[in-house]
Amino acid sequence: MKFPYSKKVLEHFQNPRNVGKMEDADGKGLEGSPACGDMVAVYLKVNEDTKVIEDVKFESYGCASNIATASIITELAKGKTLEEAKNISWKQATEELGGLPPVKAHCSVLAVEGLRAAIRDYEEKHGLVSAKEPTTENVVRSRLKHVMNPMAGLDIVRTELVTKIDVEDGNVRILLDLPSNHQFAAAIKEDILEKIESLWDVKEVKVVFTE
């Protein structure tokens, strides 16, 4: 086997742990999109008293990096409290797997984001988020860090695809340095809408491409 993947990545890819859908999940997160090539869903069963993750499952539409990272993330998260699980980083997951090819970073980072989204979902549903934070430019920017730029394998903020963010009275306008007829334009727009429209005080999201 001469792939640029470690033995452990291939082992988790072939025999992923904790796979499947959890119908009665206490928290769930979905990151990525089929358009960008990778997607991960993470489901949590949480002990309400101890806040310990008692069970975790994932589904993946993705490549070997994506599946293996999601698999190792579920192993790392099981038995941890929500606070502990929040601190599981992509770096830690990668190290556990014996490394990943740099070009595959974006495929694997989704698993970590999926876990964090599931934890956030649990916290929101269980009143653990103290006050609803109003959507500001910074909140939007932080959410956009979860939208991948498929040309670079990094998020659209870090790769400077996002040139301007305006937030006014629940109307969000995002300017992208990308022509509307670009191969990935529609996919990126779809992903942005998914991440921003769900914010509690957002009324409308406009994605503006360069001409």
């Binding site: 086997m1 792939f3 291939l10 890819f13 072939q14 992923p16 796979v19 499947g20 859908k21 979905l30 089929p34 358009a35 960008c36 090539g37 990778d38 997607m39 991960v40 869903a41 994932f58 589904e59 993946s60 539409y61 993705g62 490549c63 070997a64 990096s65 994506n66 599946i67 070009v103 595959k104 974006h106 495929c107 498929p150 040309m151 670079a152 394998g153 191969q183 996919a187």
Partner: protein, 389 residues
């Protein structure tokens, strides 16, 4: 795991035929001189004869004359030579313009893009959902400033065949030169340049069990084309660099070994895999034209699963195939061909390209489709996109 690898990526490259190697050997060990003129030494004259005979074989295979064939290092060089050579010869055109299709392979597509950067106007002609060129769009795109049209004969990924005769006739009527990249159809689908008015044709040995590193460009007599590499005066002063005589001999032998019966056999493998995939695996889409396709290509999307995962699982079971998934390539860009025929990213990501060659059998096809069925089921079981029917 199988005892041997079952290789179904013959569009990428093929295994060399032993008979080709045998034909080439004397030109490495016995007649290894350069091709000298008729008053040179005898070994050089023998080498030149072999080169000329090979040239004649390639020429005959497309109804050309030997003088119209230039040996190159392969299809990339042939297509670069055709486009860059013609463009250079027609540099005095005031508004430089070339036309290619959206589905071209990288030697043509990236040459066109390079030209665009250098001030040429390039039109990229659309195709329909089967990958067939829009002839009206082509007609309308040609202007008096068009230096060259370059449209492939068969597509490298989805195997769709263009109506090259109709395209050539349009170009002829409009008085514009036509280059066609025939890398993926050459000898598999006949093309006769004495009847089809194509001006330049790219061919390669590596797709037909010939050696790598050798190809040819057909240049119709009288076509304006400049030499694009400086050096010696080989190939009638059209292509500099010592001729690859063993390569040319091997190429000619490879051409001789392709038979209509073999092409029929490849077609039967193609149809068998399409039939089994469509009958036995739910949610599949055949990419490319069902009727107008090369005999050795089947490109199928298995929806809700990702291509790199499929190819990796297949490799672990001993099968080699290719996919249009972005994750398969370092560029992280999904197949421009599947997107070009109106497919979305999900369709591109879940596509597998099976391309057959001389050494494949019906048993190979049965084995891989069994494996694909199992793998797709396994991956769909963990896919958030797939709801069990």
């Amino acid at each position: 795991m199988l005892d041997k690898m079952i290789y179904l990526d013959n569009a990428a490259s093929t295994r060399l035929d032993e008979k080709v190697l045998e034909a080439m050997k004397p030109y490495y060990f016995d007649i290894y001189a350069v091709a000298t003129s008729e008053f040179g030494y005898s070994m050089g004259i023998d080498a030149k004869e072999a080169l000329q005979e090979s040239r004649q074989t390639i020429a005959s295979s497309i109804g050309a004359s030997a003088e119209e064939i230039v040996f190159t290092s392969g299809d990339t060089e042939s297509s670069n030579m055709a486009i860059k050579g013609v463009a250079a010869a027609l540099l005095n055109k005031k508004d430089k313009h070339i036309i290619v299709s959206k589905l071209e392979d990288f030697p043509v597509l990236n040459t066109a893009k390079a030209f665009e950067k250098n001030g040429y106007k390039v039109d990229y002609i659309s195709v329909d959902s089967e990958g067939i060129l829009d002839l009206e769009e082509l007609k309308n795109a040609i202007t008096e400033n068009t230096a060259l049209v370059s449209i492939q004969h068969a597509n490298q990924e989805i195997g769709t065949l263009q109506d090259i005769e109709a395209i050539a006739n349009i170009c002829k009527e409009k008085g514009v030169l036509l280059h066609s990249d025939a890398t993926h159809s050459y000898t598999r689908v006949p093309i006769d340049v004495s009847k089809v008015p194509v001006d330049l044709l790219t061919m390669s040995a590596h797709t037909i069990h010939g050696p790598r590193g050798v190809g040819a460009l057909y240049i119709r007599e009288g076509t304006p084309i400049n030499k694009w590499m400086d050096g010696g005066f080989q190939e009638s002063n059209r292509r500099a660099g010592l001729e690859n005589i063993p390569g040319a001999v091997g190429f000619a032998k490879a051409v001789e070994l392709v038979t209509p019966e073999e092409n029929e056999f490849l077609k039967s493998l193609r149809d068998h895999i399409i039939k089994r995939a469509e009958e036995e695996i739910p949610d599949v889409t055949l990419n490319g034209s069902r009727s107008q396709r090369v005999p050795h290509n089947a490109n199928i999307t298995f929806h809700y699963v990702e291509g790199e995962s499929m190819t990796l699982h297949l490799d672990m079971r001993g099968f080699a195939v290719s996919t249009g998934s972005a994750c398969f390539s370092r560029s992280l860009e999904a197949s421009h061909v599947i997107l070009g025929i109106g497919g979305d990213h999900e369709r591109a990501h879940g596509s597998l390209r099976f391309t057959f060659g001389r050494y494949n059998t019906k048993e190979d096809v049965d084995a891989i489709i069994d494996a694909v069925g199992e793998i797709v089921e396994q991956l769909r079981a963990i896919s958030p996109l797939y709801e069990k029917k």
